[in-house]
């Protein structure tokens, strides 16, 4: 799929626009990676009339781009005056920039605001056959915010209007065709005609072709064959107004969503789950999976990102959609696959720690606080382990040491954060932890109380787990998995046996920034701190 060059328009604030001042000059679709856009595009060169159409349910609405030659020596600057791309939602897969030598350009529905998904043509300022010069208003577009004039970026002739007045087109869809000279008008018209009805008045959101997801495969609800929960005769999809809005916004195919609301209707929560979103307003946080939950075993199929290869459900099985928290977990887990991680384990002697714990327990200090404090103190000496890699190109050293601690809660998982754990004393830390857990239970955690972690701690020792392996949550450099402390027979250098309490800790880290030696050194420091536990109370 080639890129689109030659978007010929950008909007200008119109007198009439009352409510919205556009901060964007929109033009260059060549760099626009709105994924829905590409799904529909097929390219053809005018010379060869070669059509490459994607198998999409919207073939009839296929937009034909006119990037002519496929030679890739780019002369982009000439075609693309410096335009800010601020509002372009690109989460791009890398792509080649192709040269366009075509004299026939398309005018696209511009994105006039960050929330705009489709626009309505209020009026065409120019008619077919009009000669346009750069900077002239061509069409007035109504977005969700305002009416704006859209002006041409190129000189040329308005060869054909594809989307008429009063009609609606998705952002990025062709609404008109611009020819450079009169000779090309006929050709341009033919192009326009070949995609008759490219305008999709009140087009339903595109049915997603799974391959073209914009994000690394969020768990789109798969078109599960006949959801058993909805056993109604007429298979009419009922979705609430907000659910429809969300579906459009997040490009979720509403037909593929299983409604969990009253009477089987699709609710906004269903859409959010299908889009892999966690509703921020509900204080349900980003979560980190460091353990497999025993609950809800039937959820596995729905989380699969490869719907086509799904085996049919075993008869009698039930499909339970994710809660929003579970969706967030799922999304984060899939995202974590893009980070190259490795693990280093370390046995830590905990006799001193256990003794200290017995001493401070009556004062309300928990093991979690002790471990968090120990980790924080170790991190203070190894800032690289507390850093993160945001862009794949640099280290981000965090100024605070915020220890996120994974907690299983109500069938979900949340990571309340002990902020500045290195600076707070043990007692304050314990108190803080108590508050956080209570808030988490009441679903009252504020976002920064669960998403500001710089290092995560997960402890399954209380279950008797001796060692396990955690998944690194996106945005952090390392996560520590703590097993149970068990009496272990050890031989010292002189060959004397003794019994010491040992626990295995296992750290998973992002190897782009944290290397084996870093982690080993960190663990050694951690181990020393734990073995001299009294220092924790200082």
């Amino acid at each position: 799929m080639q890129t689109q060059l030659g978007s010929a328009v950008f909007p200008r604030l119109l007198r009439r626009s009352l409510s919205y001042i556009p901060s964007i000059l929109y033009s260059l679709h060549s760099l626009l990676n709105l994924f829905h856009f590409f799904r529909f595009l097929s390219n053809s060169s005018p010379q060869s009339q070669k059509h490459k159409e994607m198998a999409s349910p919207f073939l009839s609405n296929t937009i034909i781009s006119f990037s002519s030659s496929l030679s890739s020596s780019s002369s982009l600057p000439r075609l693309a005056p410096s335009i800010p791309f601020s509002a372009i939602r690109s989460k791009s897969t890398p792509r080649r920039i192709l040269t366009v030598r075509s004299k026939i350009r398309e005018i696209f529905m511009p994105a006039l605001s960050s929330t705009m998904t489709e626009g309505k043509i209020v009026s065409w300022v120019k008619s077919e056959g009009d000669v346009l010069s750069k900077g002239e208003s061509v069409v007035v577009v109504e977005s969700d915010k305002a009416d704006m004039d859209v002006e041409t970026f190129y000189d040329g002739i308005l060869a054909a209007i594809v989307v008429g007045e009063g009609e609606t087109a998705l952002v990025g869809a062709a609404i008109g065709v611009l020819a450079e000279t009169e000779d090309e008008i006929a050709e341009a018209k033919a192009k326009a005609a070949s995609k008759s009805g490219a305008s999709t008045p009140s087009a339903p959101p595109p049915a997603p072709t799974p391959a073209a997801a914009s994000t690394p495969a969020p768990p789109k609800s798969t078109p599960a064959p006949a959801a058993p929960t909805v056993a109604e005769g007429p298979t009419k999809t009922v979705a609430t107004p907000y659910a429809k809005k969300l579906a459009k916004q997040h490009k979720v195919d509403i037909e593929s969503v299983v409604g969990t609301g009253p009477y089987g209707r699709i609710t906004p929560e269903d859409i959010e789950a299908a889009a892999g979103l966690s509703p921020s307003k509900k204080n349900v946080g980003l979560a980190v999976v460091v353990e497999t939950k025993p609950a809800a075993p039937a959820k596995a199929p729905a989380a699969s990102a490869a719907p086509s290869s799904l085996p049919p459900p075993v008869p009698g099985s039930t499909v339970v959609p994710f809660t929003t928290m579970q969706s967030a977990v799922s999304k984060n887990m899939v995202e974590s696959l893009s980070v190259p991680t490795f693990r280093v384990g370390y046995p830590v002697t905990t006799d001193a720690l256990d003794a200290l714990y017995e001493k401070v327990k009556p004062k309300g200090v928990t093991m979690t606080a002790l471990l968090a404090k120990a980790a924080a103190m170790a991190l203070a000496q190894h800032p690289v382990v507390n850093s993160s890699c945001k862009d794949g190109k640099s280290f981000t050293y965090n100024s605070n040491i915020n220890i996120a601690v994974a907690v299983a809660i109500n069938g979900g998982l949340i990571t309340p954060v002990l902020q500045d754990a290195d600076k707070l004393d043990l007692y304050l830390l314990s108190q803080k932890w108590k508050e956080l857990v209570e808030k988490a239970r009441a679903k009252q955690l504020q976002p920064q109380e669960y998403n500001s972690g710089t290092f995560t701690l997960s402890n399954l020792g209380m279950f008797g787990v001796d060692r396990f392996d955690a998944i690194l949550p996106p945005g952090q450099g390392a996560i520590m998995a703590v097993g149970a402390s068990k009496p272990t027979v050890v031989a010292d250098a002189d060959g004397f046996f003794s019994v010491k309490n040992k626990m295995l800790v296992n750290v998973t880290a992002d190897h782009r920034i944290i290397y084996g030696a870093d982690l080993a050194a960190f663990l050694q420091t951690f181990s020393k701190i734990v073995e001299n536990a009294e220092s924790l109370t200082l």
């Binding site: 009352l18 409510s19 969700d144 915010k145 809005k245 009477y263």
Partner: protein, 571 residues
């Protein structure tokens, strides 16, 4: 009938067509297009009325109630009267008329078969304002972005449904008792029972099961108001399929409610319901939402009040059948295309609010006794609210105001009409200029208007051959609005550049309903733009939006040469 909440509507042949709310639309008679508020010329009929009124009033004073004397002579006007004025219906219209009548020295009675206050106070604008006050505050508290911009931090806002409902109910009770007390204090007799006209200048009233009383009056005003209009095929059960009467009690907040009709009532309720967490689906028979508004205002209002909220809509469709939720099924709404009449869609929602307008409440009024036939329920009247009989003649001493005549279904319009009638019966001719009556919709932000919309003004201009000017100002430029962080809004002035006459003003923005009166007063008093633009507004206030508006109008030089119409006197 009442301010704003309920707009001009009629009893429709088709479902929602009459849900037009523009004041001007309700005015059909060209005579009302005058722009002077007060008319002093006497016309034939009124002359007669005046000459006798003083005398009659004088004579009636001396009499005690002589019910028996008139009872036996149905059909012929009584010679002496129990009252100078009887008003049937104690809503806002009747109340306004009664107060003014007392001020003019008339012995006045008011007949009410239900509760004092009528629709507005009990089932309309008053309780709805209580709900809207709540929704406004909820909206603010829920708007994290807005709060953050002001530097405020609020943790999750919530509400107690019963508490909100009680607030609305308490407000209605309070206003109702205020209204009752104000009339009692002035010596207005409140007669309880359903009033029926039994003959000229004669009314009977009484509760069901009690003997009727008959009273006579020199003049009678019908002010019986209206009830929610429910189109055929819609089954109202008061729980899941409701009218505004039920909705104002706020007995439940459904997850998803369909609102049939997108006029004032529907729009205000959409504001309330979405603020309380419901999702809303509008069903509108016309091709666009908010049909009665100036198109530009409507468009902006849709961007602010509809699109970003949890609302979707179906336009160009009729709801032919609405079945309440029962037997484990949701409310089912069958839609047909408004034009082709073909089945279009079926909706399944938790509740449906019927806001398709209001029907006049004129049944059992005894109009047949004075040879009057209602038109689709409305009592036919002339521009002076005098009732017209089947032969097209005026019925002497009988007037009809408010929703019952359908001229302009707003509480304050009814009250103004009542005052106009009292003026007439006390010897001063008066024709109310309906184009000076403002209307408002109390959404967040509010919408208000007075006079003509732009298309109406352009149509009139074409007919009469004048030019139309349009000026606009934005709330974005207003200091006070920005201080409140509520810069979203527009004021629009439609005027005649040749003489500076104000044809219409439309406002969408913070406190629009309060801002409109500068414009409506100017229209009522005939103030021209070239004069009002010199009036001073306190700074910084929202009123400067209108100040800017008047100043930005371009009145032609010729009109300016006249100088101010009324030179203020220095003191």
């Amino acid at each position: 009938m009442h301010s704003i909440c309920f707009q001009a509507t009629g009893v429709p042949r088709s479902n929602y067509i009459f849900d037009s709310c523009s004041p001007a639309l309700a005015i059909s008679k060209p005579i009302n297009l005058r722009f002077c508020g007060l008319r002093k010329e006497a016309f034939g009929f009124s002359g007669l009325t005046h000459s006798s009124s003083g005398r009659v009033r004088f004579s009636s004073r001396g009499h005690s109630k002589k019910v028996s004397a008139s009872a036996e002579s149905n059909g012929s006007p009584p010679k002496s009267f129990d009252y100078d004025l009887i008003i049937i219906g104690a809503g806002v219209g009747g109340h306004g008329a009664a107060l003014h009548a007392v001020e003019k020295g008339l012995k006045t009675a008011i007949i009410e078969g239900d509760v004092v206050g009528g629709t507005c106070v009990n089932r309309g604008c008053v309780p709805s304002k209580a709900l809207l006050a709540v929704s406004g505050k909820m909206r603010e508290l829920q708007s994290e972005h807005h709060m953050k911009a002001l530097g405020l931090q609020v943790s999750a806002a919530g509400y107690d449904r019963q508490g909100v409902a009680d607030h609305a109910n308490n407000l209605a009770s309070k206003i109702r008792s205020n209204l009752t007390n104000s009339m009692k204090a002035l010596g207005v007799d409140i007669l309880t029972g359903v009033g029926t006209i039994v003959g000229p200048q004669k009314v009977k009233y009484g509760k069901v099961g009690f003997p009727d009383n008959i009273v006579t009056a020199k003049n009678i005003i019908i002010a019986t108001g209206s009830v929610p209009f429910v189109p055929k095929g819609i089954e109202v059960d008061g729980k899941t399929v409701i009218t505004s009467d039920h909705a104002l009690k706020l007995e439940s907040v459904p997850d998803w409610i369909a609102i049939v009709g997108s006029g004032y009532i529907g729009l205000e309720f959409s504001d309330v319901y979405t603020a309380l967490g419901s999702e809303v689906t509008f069903i509108e028979a016309l091709d666009q939402l908010m049909p009665g508004f100036d198109p530009e205002i409507g468009k902006l209002a849709q961007r602010v009040l509809i699109n970003p909220r949890k609302i979707d809509y179906h336009t160009g469709v009729f709801a032919t059948k609405i079945t309440p939720a029962k037997d484990g099924k949701p409310v089912i709404i069958e839609l047909i295309d408004a034009k082709t009449k073909e089945p279009k869609d079926t909706l399944e929602v938790d509740a449906a609010l019927i806001a398709t307008g209001r029907a006049p409440f004129t049944n059992g009024l005894g109009l047949e006794n004075v040879n009057v036939v209602t038109q689709r329920g409305f009592v036919p009247v002339d521009e002076r609210m005098r009732v017209i009989d089947t032969n097209g003649n005026l019925v002497p001493h009988l007037y009809c105001i408010g929703d019952a005549n359908g001229k302009m279904m707003l509480a304050h319009a009814a009250s103004a009409q009542g005052i106009s009638v009292v003026e007439q019966v006390t010897g001063r001719d008066h024709v109310l200029n309906h184009l000076s009556i403002p209307a408002a919709c109390f959404t967040h932000p509010e919408i208000s208007m007075v006079g003509l919309t732009e298309p109406q003004a352009r149509e009139k201009a074409q007919k009469e051959g004048f030019e139309v000017g349009v000026a606009k100002t934005s709330f974005k430029a207003n200091t006070k609005a920005l201080a409140e962080n509520e810069g979203e809004g527009l004021a629009k002035l439609i005027y005649r550049p040749d003489n500076g006459e104000i044809l219409g003003v439309h406002i969408f923005g913070l406190h629009a309903a309060d801002l409109i009166h500068e414009a409506s007063n100017a229209i009522a008093l005939g103030t021209r733009i070239q004069d009002i633009k010199f009036a001073v507004h306190a700074h910084p206030t929202l009123s400067e939006v209108l100040d800017e508006l008047f100043k930005s109008a371009k009145v032609k030089a010729a009109a300016l040469s006249h100088g101010p119409v009324s030179e203020p006197v220095a003191v």
